[in-house]
Symmetry: C2
Subunit: 153 residues, 2 copies
DNA sequence: TCATATTGACATTATGCATGTCATTTTGAC
DNA sequence: GTCAAAATGACATGCATAATGTCAATATGA
Protein backbone atom coordinates (compact mmCIF):
# COMPACT_ATOMS: atom_id res chain seq x y z
CA UNK A 1 0.00 0.00 0.00
CA UNK A 2 2.52 2.50 1.18
CA UNK A 3 4.99 0.92 -1.17
CA UNK A 4 2.69 1.60 -4.08
CA UNK A 5 2.65 5.31 -3.32
CA UNK A 6 6.39 5.25 -2.88
CA UNK A 7 6.84 3.84 -6.34
CA UNK A 8 4.42 6.27 -7.91
CA UNK A 9 6.10 9.13 -6.14
CA UNK A 10 9.54 8.17 -7.34
CA UNK A 11 8.31 7.60 -10.83
CA UNK A 12 6.75 11.03 -10.77
CA UNK A 13 10.03 12.56 -9.72
CA UNK A 14 11.87 10.65 -12.40
CA UNK A 15 9.52 11.82 -15.12
CA UNK A 16 9.74 15.45 -14.13
CA UNK A 17 13.50 15.39 -14.09
CA UNK A 18 13.19 15.14 -17.86
CA UNK A 19 13.00 18.89 -18.24
CA UNK A 20 16.12 19.77 -16.26
CA UNK A 21 17.87 16.83 -17.87
CA UNK A 22 17.04 18.08 -21.32
CA UNK A 23 18.00 21.63 -20.52
CA UNK A 24 21.30 20.56 -19.02
CA UNK A 25 22.07 18.30 -21.96
CA UNK A 26 21.23 20.97 -24.48
CA UNK A 27 23.26 23.65 -22.82
CA UNK A 28 26.15 21.21 -22.65
CA UNK A 29 25.90 20.56 -26.37
CA UNK A 30 25.72 24.29 -26.94
CA UNK A 31 28.92 24.79 -25.00
CA UNK A 32 30.62 22.26 -27.20
CA UNK A 33 29.59 24.25 -30.25
CA UNK A 34 31.35 27.43 -29.17
CA UNK A 35 33.76 28.55 -31.82
CA UNK A 36 32.36 26.34 -34.57
CA UNK A 37 29.88 28.71 -36.22
CA UNK A 38 27.29 26.00 -35.73
CA UNK A 39 23.93 26.38 -34.04
CA UNK A 40 22.29 23.54 -32.19
CA UNK A 41 19.90 22.87 -35.04
CA UNK A 42 22.64 22.91 -37.64
CA UNK A 43 24.48 20.40 -35.48
CA UNK A 44 21.36 18.25 -35.53
CA UNK A 45 21.37 18.22 -39.32
CA UNK A 46 25.03 17.23 -39.42
CA UNK A 47 24.44 14.53 -36.85
CA UNK A 48 21.68 12.86 -38.80
CA UNK A 49 23.59 13.02 -42.05
CA UNK A 50 26.59 11.52 -40.30
CA UNK A 51 24.59 8.81 -38.61
CA UNK A 52 22.25 7.81 -41.40
CA UNK A 53 24.06 9.06 -44.48
CA UNK A 54 23.07 11.56 -47.15
CA UNK A 55 19.37 12.13 -47.66
CA UNK A 56 16.75 14.66 -48.67
CA UNK A 57 15.01 17.24 -46.53
CA UNK A 58 11.77 15.26 -46.20
CA UNK A 59 13.73 12.20 -45.14
CA UNK A 60 15.54 14.24 -42.54
CA UNK A 61 12.25 15.63 -41.30
CA UNK A 62 10.84 12.15 -40.84
CA UNK A 63 13.95 11.12 -38.95
CA UNK A 64 13.79 14.16 -36.67
CA UNK A 65 10.04 13.89 -36.31
CA UNK A 66 9.48 17.56 -36.97
CA UNK A 67 7.71 19.28 -39.82
CA UNK A 68 9.54 19.35 -43.12
CA UNK A 69 9.00 23.11 -43.47
CA UNK A 70 11.08 23.73 -40.41
CA UNK A 71 13.71 21.20 -41.35
CA UNK A 72 13.97 22.96 -44.69
CA UNK A 73 14.96 26.12 -42.88
CA UNK A 74 17.50 24.30 -40.74
CA UNK A 75 18.99 22.72 -43.83
CA UNK A 76 19.14 25.96 -45.77
CA UNK A 77 21.08 27.51 -42.93
CA UNK A 78 23.41 24.57 -42.81
CA UNK A 79 23.90 24.74 -46.56
CA UNK A 80 24.87 28.37 -46.22
CA UNK A 81 27.49 27.40 -43.71
CA UNK A 82 29.27 25.15 -46.17
CA UNK A 83 29.19 22.09 -43.93
CA UNK A 84 26.75 20.31 -46.20
CA UNK A 85 26.12 20.46 -49.92
CA UNK A 86 23.44 19.50 -52.43
CA UNK A 87 23.91 16.63 -54.80
CA UNK A 88 21.74 15.62 -57.71
CA UNK A 89 19.01 13.21 -56.70
CA UNK A 90 18.42 10.55 -59.31
CA UNK A 91 15.19 9.60 -57.60
CA UNK A 92 13.69 13.07 -57.46
CA UNK A 93 15.02 15.95 -59.48
CA UNK A 94 13.42 18.65 -57.40
CA UNK A 95 14.66 17.36 -54.10
CA UNK A 96 18.45 17.33 -53.95
CA UNK A 97 20.29 14.98 -51.66
CA UNK A 98 22.04 16.66 -48.79
CA UNK A 99 25.49 15.38 -47.93
CA UNK A 100 28.26 16.39 -45.58
CA UNK A 101 31.18 18.20 -47.14
CA UNK A 102 34.62 17.13 -46.03
CA UNK A 103 34.68 20.09 -43.76
CA UNK A 104 31.31 19.22 -42.29
CA UNK A 105 32.24 15.61 -41.90
CA UNK A 106 35.38 16.40 -39.98
CA UNK A 107 33.54 18.89 -37.84
CA UNK A 108 30.68 16.67 -36.81
CA UNK A 109 33.00 13.77 -36.08
CA UNK A 110 34.99 16.02 -33.87
CA UNK A 111 31.95 17.29 -32.05
CA UNK A 112 30.46 13.86 -31.55
CA UNK A 113 33.71 12.47 -30.28
CA UNK A 114 34.00 15.28 -27.76
CA UNK A 115 30.46 14.60 -26.66
CA UNK A 116 31.16 10.91 -26.33
CA UNK A 117 34.19 11.77 -24.26
CA UNK A 118 31.89 13.56 -21.85
CA UNK A 119 29.60 10.55 -21.76
CA UNK A 120 32.53 8.33 -20.89
CA UNK A 121 33.74 10.57 -18.13
CA UNK A 122 30.30 10.76 -16.66
CA UNK A 123 29.62 7.07 -16.94
CA UNK A 124 32.61 6.37 -14.75
CA UNK A 125 30.51 7.28 -11.77
CA UNK A 126 27.86 4.72 -12.63
CA UNK A 127 27.70 0.97 -13.05
CA UNK A 128 26.89 -0.65 -16.34
CA UNK A 129 23.84 -2.29 -14.81
CA UNK A 130 22.48 0.91 -13.35
CA UNK A 131 22.76 2.72 -16.65
CA UNK A 132 21.05 -0.15 -18.43
CA UNK A 133 18.30 -0.21 -15.84
CA UNK A 134 17.74 3.52 -16.08
CA UNK A 135 17.49 3.34 -19.84
CA UNK A 136 15.09 0.44 -19.62
CA UNK A 137 12.85 2.25 -17.16
CA UNK A 138 12.80 5.43 -19.18
CA UNK A 139 11.98 3.60 -22.38
CA UNK A 140 9.17 1.81 -20.59
CA UNK A 141 7.78 5.05 -19.22
CA UNK A 142 7.92 6.90 -22.51
CA UNK A 143 6.14 4.02 -24.12
CA UNK A 144 3.49 3.96 -21.45
CA UNK A 145 2.87 7.68 -21.58
CA UNK A 146 2.65 7.68 -25.35
CA UNK A 147 0.15 4.86 -25.35
CA UNK A 148 -1.96 6.71 -22.86
CA UNK A 149 -1.93 9.85 -24.96
CA UNK A 150 -2.75 7.77 -28.00
CA UNK A 151 -5.84 6.25 -26.40
CA UNK A 152 -7.57 9.54 -25.96
CA UNK A 153 -7.36 10.44 -29.60
CA UNK B 1 37.55 -0.92 -23.33
CA UNK B 2 34.53 -2.04 -25.24
CA UNK B 3 32.57 -1.90 -22.06
CA UNK B 4 33.48 1.73 -21.62
CA UNK B 5 31.99 2.62 -24.98
CA UNK B 6 28.97 0.54 -24.21
CA UNK B 7 28.33 2.52 -21.07
CA UNK B 8 28.86 5.84 -22.78
CA UNK B 9 26.57 4.79 -25.58
CA UNK B 10 23.77 3.78 -23.26
CA UNK B 11 24.18 6.89 -21.20
CA UNK B 12 23.94 8.92 -24.37
CA UNK B 13 20.73 7.17 -25.31
CA UNK B 14 19.33 7.71 -21.85
CA UNK B 15 20.09 11.42 -21.89
CA UNK B 16 18.48 11.96 -25.26
CA UNK B 17 15.32 10.18 -24.25
CA UNK B 18 14.71 13.23 -22.08
CA UNK B 19 13.06 15.09 -24.92
CA UNK B 20 10.51 12.43 -25.89
CA UNK B 21 9.96 11.76 -22.22
CA UNK B 22 9.19 15.37 -21.53
CA UNK B 23 6.95 15.70 -24.52
CA UNK B 24 5.02 12.57 -23.64
CA UNK B 25 4.64 13.68 -20.04
CA UNK B 26 3.48 17.13 -21.00
CA UNK B 27 0.95 15.95 -23.50
CA UNK B 28 -0.34 13.53 -20.89
CA UNK B 29 -0.78 16.37 -18.41
CA UNK B 30 -2.50 18.37 -21.10
CA UNK B 31 -4.94 15.56 -21.72
CA UNK B 32 -5.78 15.52 -18.05
CA UNK B 33 -6.65 19.21 -18.23
CA UNK B 34 -9.34 18.77 -20.85
CA UNK B 35 -12.61 20.19 -19.61
CA UNK B 36 -11.10 22.13 -16.72
CA UNK B 37 -10.58 25.54 -18.35
CA UNK B 38 -6.99 25.30 -17.18
CA UNK B 39 -3.91 25.70 -19.32
CA UNK B 40 -0.70 23.88 -18.57
CA UNK B 41 0.86 26.98 -17.11
CA UNK B 42 -2.14 27.75 -14.95
CA UNK B 43 -1.91 24.20 -13.68
CA UNK B 44 1.72 24.86 -12.80
CA UNK B 45 0.73 27.83 -10.68
CA UNK B 46 -1.89 25.83 -8.85
CA UNK B 47 0.54 22.98 -8.31
CA UNK B 48 3.16 25.16 -6.68
CA UNK B 49 0.62 26.89 -4.48
CA UNK B 50 -0.74 23.53 -3.45
CA UNK B 51 2.67 22.04 -2.79
CA UNK B 52 4.38 24.96 -1.08
CA UNK B 53 1.48 27.04 0.13
CA UNK B 54 0.43 30.59 -0.63
CA UNK B 55 3.13 32.95 -1.82
CA UNK B 56 3.88 35.99 -3.94
CA UNK B 57 4.66 36.12 -7.65
CA UNK B 58 8.41 36.61 -7.16
CA UNK B 59 8.48 33.64 -4.80
CA UNK B 60 6.69 31.52 -7.37
CA UNK B 61 9.12 32.64 -10.03
CA UNK B 62 12.06 31.56 -7.93
CA UNK B 63 10.42 28.21 -7.34
CA UNK B 64 9.71 27.66 -11.02
CA UNK B 65 13.08 29.03 -12.00
CA UNK B 66 11.65 31.25 -14.68
CA UNK B 67 11.58 35.02 -14.94
CA UNK B 68 9.16 36.79 -12.68
CA UNK B 69 7.74 38.80 -15.60
CA UNK B 70 6.47 35.66 -17.22
CA UNK B 71 5.23 34.19 -13.98
CA UNK B 72 3.32 37.40 -13.46
CA UNK B 73 1.44 36.76 -16.68
CA UNK B 74 0.72 33.16 -15.74
CA UNK B 75 -0.57 34.28 -12.38
CA UNK B 76 -2.73 37.04 -13.81
CA UNK B 77 -4.37 34.49 -16.07
CA UNK B 78 -4.88 32.16 -13.18
CA UNK B 79 -6.36 34.96 -11.11
CA UNK B 80 -8.81 35.69 -13.89
CA UNK B 81 -9.91 32.08 -13.80
CA UNK B 82 -10.97 32.29 -10.19
CA UNK B 83 -8.87 29.37 -9.03
CA UNK B 84 -6.57 31.60 -7.06
CA UNK B 85 -7.08 34.90 -5.27
CA UNK B 86 -5.02 37.74 -3.87
CA UNK B 87 -4.66 38.28 -0.17
CA UNK B 88 -3.11 41.21 1.62
CA UNK B 89 0.57 40.71 2.24
CA UNK B 90 1.67 42.06 5.62
CA UNK B 91 5.30 41.82 4.52
CA UNK B 92 4.92 43.79 1.31
CA UNK B 93 1.92 45.94 0.52
CA UNK B 94 2.50 46.03 -3.22
CA UNK B 95 2.92 42.32 -3.61
CA UNK B 96 -0.19 40.41 -2.66
CA UNK B 97 -0.02 36.83 -1.58
CA UNK B 98 -1.55 34.39 -4.01
CA UNK B 99 -3.62 31.60 -2.57
CA UNK B 100 -5.81 28.85 -3.90
CA UNK B 101 -9.53 29.45 -3.68
CA UNK B 102 -11.65 26.55 -2.51
CA UNK B 103 -12.50 25.89 -6.10
CA UNK B 104 -8.86 25.94 -7.14
CA UNK B 105 -7.85 23.79 -4.26
CA UNK B 106 -10.39 21.13 -5.10
CA UNK B 107 -9.45 21.27 -8.74
CA UNK B 108 -5.72 20.91 -8.33
CA UNK B 109 -6.14 18.10 -5.82
CA UNK B 110 -8.31 16.32 -8.27
CA UNK B 111 -5.86 16.78 -11.10
CA UNK B 112 -2.88 15.71 -9.06
CA UNK B 113 -4.66 12.67 -7.80
CA UNK B 114 -5.56 11.64 -11.32
CA UNK B 115 -1.97 12.11 -12.33
CA UNK B 116 -0.77 10.06 -9.40
CA UNK B 117 -3.19 7.36 -10.43
CA UNK B 118 -1.45 7.21 -13.76
CA UNK B 119 1.89 6.98 -12.02
CA UNK B 120 0.65 4.07 -9.97
CA UNK B 121 -0.69 2.21 -12.93
CA UNK B 122 2.52 2.69 -14.80
CA UNK B 123 4.73 1.77 -11.89
CA UNK B 124 3.07 -1.61 -11.75
CA UNK B 125 5.22 -2.68 -14.64
CA UNK B 126 8.42 -1.77 -12.82
CA UNK B 127 10.15 -2.87 -9.66
CA UNK B 128 10.74 -0.52 -6.78
CA UNK B 129 14.48 -0.98 -7.11
CA UNK B 130 14.54 -0.24 -10.82
CA UNK B 131 12.62 2.97 -10.37
CA UNK B 132 14.91 4.02 -7.55
CA UNK B 133 17.95 3.20 -9.65
CA UNK B 134 16.65 5.12 -12.63
CA UNK B 135 15.96 8.15 -10.49
CA UNK B 136 19.40 7.94 -8.93
CA UNK B 137 21.10 7.72 -12.31
CA UNK B 138 19.14 10.62 -13.74
CA UNK B 139 19.86 12.81 -10.75
CA UNK B 140 23.53 11.97 -11.04
CA UNK B 141 23.59 12.80 -14.73
CA UNK B 142 21.75 16.09 -14.37
CA UNK B 143 24.15 17.05 -11.66
CA UNK B 144 27.14 16.12 -13.78
CA UNK B 145 25.92 17.98 -16.82
CA UNK B 146 25.13 21.09 -14.82
CA UNK B 147 28.55 21.13 -13.22
CA UNK B 148 30.12 20.82 -16.61
CA UNK B 149 28.11 23.72 -17.94
CA UNK B 150 28.92 25.68 -14.84
CA UNK B 151 32.68 25.26 -15.30
CA UNK B 152 32.75 27.02 -18.61
CA UNK B 153 31.18 30.16 -17.28
C1' DT C 1 14.94 60.49 5.55
C1' DC C 2 16.55 58.90 1.62
C1' DA C 3 19.13 55.78 -1.36
C1' DT C 4 18.22 51.29 -2.92
C1' DA C 5 15.54 47.36 -3.89
C1' DT C 6 11.21 45.27 -5.03
C1' DT C 7 7.18 44.75 -7.57
C1' DG C 8 3.63 44.99 -11.22
C1' DA C 9 2.87 46.39 -15.74
C1' DC C 10 4.05 46.79 -20.29
C1' DA C 11 6.91 46.35 -24.61
C1' DT C 12 10.11 43.98 -27.45
C1' DT C 13 12.62 40.09 -28.98
C1' DA C 14 14.07 35.17 -29.64
C1' DT C 15 13.51 30.28 -30.20
C1' DG C 16 11.29 26.28 -31.72
C1' DC C 17 8.18 24.65 -33.61
C1' DA C 18 2.99 23.84 -36.18
C1' DT C 19 0.06 24.98 -39.91
C1' DG C 20 -1.42 26.76 -44.30
C1' DT C 21 -0.76 27.94 -49.03
C1' DC C 22 1.23 28.09 -53.58
C1' DA C 23 3.64 27.03 -57.75
C1' DT C 24 6.46 23.75 -59.59
C1' DT C 25 7.83 19.43 -60.45
C1' DT C 26 7.54 14.54 -60.12
C1' DT C 27 5.39 10.22 -59.91
C1' DG C 28 2.40 6.52 -60.86
C1' DA C 29 -1.81 4.55 -62.71
C1' DC C 30 -3.92 3.99 -66.75
C1' DG D 1 2.06 9.22 -73.26
C1' DT D 2 -1.43 11.50 -70.49
C1' DC D 3 -3.10 13.22 -66.54
C1' DA D 4 -4.54 13.29 -61.79
C1' DA D 5 -2.41 12.99 -57.43
C1' DA D 6 1.54 13.49 -54.53
C1' DA D 7 5.87 15.50 -53.24
C1' DT D 8 8.80 19.36 -52.73
C1' DG D 9 10.72 24.02 -51.86
C1' DA D 10 9.49 28.54 -50.71
C1' DC D 11 7.09 31.66 -48.19
C1' DA D 12 3.70 33.48 -44.75
C1' DT D 13 1.44 33.30 -40.38
C1' DG D 14 0.57 31.89 -35.79
C1' DC D 15 1.54 30.23 -31.18
C1' DA D 16 3.72 28.85 -26.75
C1' DT D 17 7.37 29.65 -23.80
C1' DA D 18 10.09 32.11 -22.40
C1' DA D 19 14.28 36.10 -21.89
C1' DT D 20 15.25 40.88 -21.53
C1' DG D 21 14.54 45.74 -20.87
C1' DT D 22 12.17 49.60 -19.03
C1' DC D 23 9.23 52.36 -16.13
C1' DA D 24 6.68 54.12 -12.31
C1' DA D 25 5.05 53.19 -7.90
C1' DT D 26 6.06 51.69 -3.65
C1' DA D 27 8.49 49.48 -0.01
C1' DT D 28 12.53 48.62 2.72
C1' DG D 29 16.30 49.33 5.57
C1' DA D 30 20.44 51.88 6.94
Amino acid sequence: MHNVNMKAEQLHQLIWMSRPLMQAAESCVEDGLAGTNLTVRMRAVLEILHKYGEQTVPELAARLEIQRQYVQIMCNETLASGFIEQRANPRHKRSPILALTNQGSTLIEDILSNEMQIMQEMSEGLSTEDIATALKVVLFVVDGLKKRAGERK
